[in-house]
Structures are given as C-alpha cells and as structure tokens.
C-alpha cells in the first residue's frame, strides 16, 4: 500500500444509546496531505477520527484506507498503516516504563527486542523525551505524557498520522517541537484540534464539522478567514489572520 488515500463516503455513526454523532460525512484525503478537522465541541471530530483506524465501525456508509474498506477483519491490517494519537494520553500509556510503552508498537509488529528498542529510542529522541525513558508514565507531567504518547505512535512509522488534540497541555517549547515535527512528516496527517494557529502552520486544508455534518472544506487560510462562518460554528478567526502585518 504505497498511496494511502483516506476516503469517507456518506459516513454515519450512531452510538448504542441512539445518539447520531456523525451524519453523511464524505471527504477524500490524498497521500501526503495535511488536513485539519475543526469544529466546536460535540461536533463529532473525535468520533470521525475513531473510524479511521477501526476503533469504531460505521453505522452507515464506509471508510476506505488506500482502497481497503475498514471492517472488523481488515482492522488489524489498517492499523499498521494508520497511527492514532488519542485525546487522553493517560489512555495510551499503560506500560511500566516510558521505553516499554514506546517499544510496545514495534514489539507487537513482531520486531526483535533489540530492534524495537532502537526504534523506541529514535522516536523518543524525535519528541525530545529520551531522558525520561526509564520513568513510570504515571509520574510524568501532562505535557510530557502527551509527547511520549506521540512517540509511541511514531515508533511504528505509520503511513498516516491521525491526532486528536495533540497540542493541548503542551508548553510553548513542546508545542513548537510538535509543529516542527508535523511539518517534517512526509506522510498524510489528519489533525483534529482547537489549536487553529497550529492548523494554519501545518495544514493545507481544513474540514469544518458541526453537529455531525461537514459544513465546508477547503484551503485552511480561506476557510478560517471567513469570520462569519467561524463564529457561526463556535470558532473564531485565528489571530494571525486577523492582523495581517506586512513583515
């Protein structure tokens, strides 16, 4: 699978209680694109993301990763290509030490312990957390946990990186590091976030979600420059677009 096109067609999801979280979502993301998923709380961003690696199954419509439809049977295969960083890092760090956590992915893929360890150390280095490799995740700060969580996914060298609120709780340095990391990542990036400045810096395109449906999509700067649209959907125009200084 070299060209991983992420495609959703009339995707819908209804939770067991009856709540329809997303409705008729259709989009197409080509290889190497960086797309931001924006929208107010409760819009269905997280729900949408969870369909991309088979955590949730579509109630209606379908999702395809590189032409392969996401089903229970193909989920394991899909997960090799799609690396997901969840919203709560506490849910992603479950091993006794940081190094064990980051090495978990490579080990699960069948890599030998020595090689898995190497991958883990490389990934930790990329997020700047090498010094904490022997620590218990429980004792890390919120920002450190988030960086380690990102490392756990990077260690698996996914073709598609999906992130849910990656910059929350990061200090400015950590956030800058994340942005640089995302900009240097060559493969597809799909990021759901409230951090609109990050979207401006990293993403070429945005999909605006509200109440479970796609409101619009298009080039990041264009969509987010539409003040009325942004305000209508619980967002606002990013600061850097508001004051265009001719530097």
């Amino acid at each position: 699978m070299s060209h991983h096109i992420v495609e959703a067609r009339n995707l819908g999801h209804i939770y067991p209680g009856g709540h329809e979280a997303i409705r008729d979502v259709t989009f197409r993301i080509t290889h190497g694109e960086a797309v931001g998923i924006i929208g107010p709380n409760g819009a269905g961003k997280s729900t949408l993301l969870l369909h991309l690696n088979g955590c949730l199954m579509a109630s209606r419509g379908e999702v395809r990763i590189g032409e392969i439809p996401v089903t229970r049977e193909t989920a394991a295969q899909i997960r090799r290509a799609v690396g997901m960083v969840f919203q709560d890092p506490d849910d992603q760090l479950f091993m006794p030490t940081v190094l064990d956590d980051v090495a978990f992915g490579p080990l699960s893929y069948g890599l030998a312990p020595a090689e898995a360890k190497q991958r883990a150390l490389t990934a930790l280095d990329r997020v700047g957390m090498s010094a904490l490799q022997g620590q218990t995740p429980y004792r890390l700060s919120a920002g450190e946990k988030r960086e380690v969580a990102i490392a756990t996914v990077l260690a698996m060298t996914p073709d598609i990186l999906v992130m849910d609120e990656p910059s929350s709780n990061l200090d400015p340095r950590g956030r800058r590091r994340l942005i640089e990391l995302l900009k240097s990542f060559e493969h597809t990036r799909i990021i759901a976030t409230h951090d609109l400045e990050l979207v401006l810096e990293v993403c070429s395109r945005v999909i605006l979600l509200d109440s479970g449906s796609v409101v619009t999509e298009g080039p990041a700067a264009d969509v987010m420059n539409d003040e009325a649209l942004m305000l209508q959907h619980g967002l606002e125009r990013p600061h850097s677009l508001r004051h265009k200084h001719p530097h």
Binding site: F86, D91, Q92, F94, P96, D100, G105, L107, P113
Partner: protein
C-alpha cells in the same frame, strides 16, 4: 478507601521496572524457583521451626540483589499478618499437647505449630512479593505464559493488575469530587454509595475500553511481548539450579540444627 493502596501499588510498578542483576534474570527462572521455594516450605511438618530458618536466605538475598527496599516488603507483610494470625490462633487452644523446651519450659504444642504457620506465612508472602517487585508484572506474565500458563489467563492477570490501578484512580477522583461537595457533613448513605459504585463501574469500564482500544491501535494481538530477550543465559540456569539445590538440601537436612550442633559441640 483507595488512597494508600494505589500509591503502594504504583511503587510496586516502579520497583518492577528497575534495572538490577535480579531484574535482568529471566522471569521464567525466578518464577520456577519461587514455586519450588513455596513447595519446599509448605512441605515441612507442622511443628518445624529451626529447619525453616535457612529459607530466609533466599528472599533476603534477592531483596538485596534487586535493590528492593526491605521496608516495602515488611509493610505489606504486616498488613496481611492479621489474617495469618487469625488462622493459627486457635492452634494453641485446640492442640494442648505439652512440649518440653530446652531450659525446662513446658508449652502447648499448638503454640509451636502457630509460630510455624507464621514463619511460613512470612516466607511465602515475602517470596511472592519479591518475585513481582524483582521482575515486573509485565515481564512476569510474559514469562509465565512461556512456561505453560494459558495465554488468555496470563493476559487476564496482566489486565487485572493494570485495571486495578484504573479503578483505584477513578475511585480516588470520585472520592475527591465527593469530598469537595460534601462540605464535611455526615457519611453518605447507602443510596449515595450505591450510585457511586455504579458510576465507578461505568467510568472504569469506559476508561478500560479506551485503554484497550489504544493497545489494539498499536497492534496488540493477545500475546504479551517484552523488551527482554527470550534467550536463556547461563546466569539464569545457574540461578535456578543453584537455588533449587539449596532448597533440596535445606529441606532434607536441618541445616540450622547442624550448625548449632557444631557450635555447641553436640549439646541437646
């Protein structure tokens, strides 16, 4: 109800992740030796005392080798001690056979068996604790699976261990939330507790689902894998055979008595 134990359990996790000569030994070797130890200790006759003493060398040596603070183990033993005491306490009453001790004291045989029970309790508990603290639950479960424990069970053990933290964590959060709102009034009634427990169950379930989803997302397929190499090193073989040989010797001959015999020149 959870606060001290969740921090103590966390400590156990940290100890398990240390690096030391003990931690570097293969989990299988340590598990096998532990099982042999417990079998040997429990096979002693009920009134055995001095013959048990050489067995203390094993947990003490391992504690030192692994850098595990003795206080940690002792605290846990003390917590579980009342249970053992309750069990054995009736022996002195039910077993009144007079026994002659050196020095001319007569005591009910039940006391001897009671002390023996306590000694065995301390030995077996400390050895089990040292096993987990000196190996790490994750590596231990992986090792147990390799020596034949059904995979589903090894995974369940690990998840249970892991989710105990989760439940304790959620319980702590809920209790804090409740305390902040209760404004120091009297203890909440049964109804509140029932509701609390119900919500604790649901929140823990939710969190457990998310954690499991994260594991699946990183390729978990039901097998426990660790960074520890699966090769068996000479050190592991030496460790296993050496200690088991020692247990066999210490079980067959009362080493303590022999030592005392030598020193006292055959005194009885």
């Amino acid at each position: 109800m959870f606060s001290p134990s969740s921090l103590e359990a966390l400590r156990m996790d940290e100890l398990g992740g240390l690096d030391s000569p003990l931690h570097r030994l293969d989990a299988r070797a340590k598990a096998i030796v532990t099982i042999a130890f417990i079998a040997a200790v429990m096979s002693f006759p009920r009134y055995e005392l001095s013959g048990l003493t050489p067995f203390f060398i094993y947990p003490i040596a391992l504690l030192a080798l692994g850098g595990i603070p003795p206080g940690f183990i002792l605290r846990k033993i003390l917590i579980a001690a009342p249970f053992a005491i309750c069990i054995g306490l009736f022996n002195p009453m039910l077993d009144r056979h007079p026994l002659l001790l050196p020095g001319g004291y007569v005591v009910a045989a039940g006391w001897i068996s009671f002390v023996s029970i306590l000694v065995r309790f301390v030995l077996t508990v400390s050895v089990a604790l040292v096993l987990v603290a000196g190996t790490g639950m994750h590596r231990l479960c992986a090792g147990l699976e390799r020596i034949g424990l059904p995979r589903v069970f090894a995974v369940q053990l690990l998840f249970l261990y892991r989710y105990l933290f989760v439940v304790a964590d959620e319980g702590l959060r809920m209790r804090r939330g409740m305390e902040l709102r209760a404004a120091g009034s009297r203890a909440p009634g049964l109804r509140v507790y029932g509701s609390l427990l119900g919500h604790l169950l649901l929140r823990s379930l939710d969190r457990a689902h998310r954690i499991y989803a994260a594991m699946l997302a990183r390729g978990f397929d039901g097998r426990i894998r660790t960074l520890q190499e699966s090769k068996v090193h000479p050190a592991d073989v030496l460790f296993t055979t050496g200690w088991i040989a020692f247990f066999v010797v210490a079980r067959t001959w009362n080493l303590a008595e022999g030592l005392g015999f030598l020193l006292t020149g055959g005194g009885r």
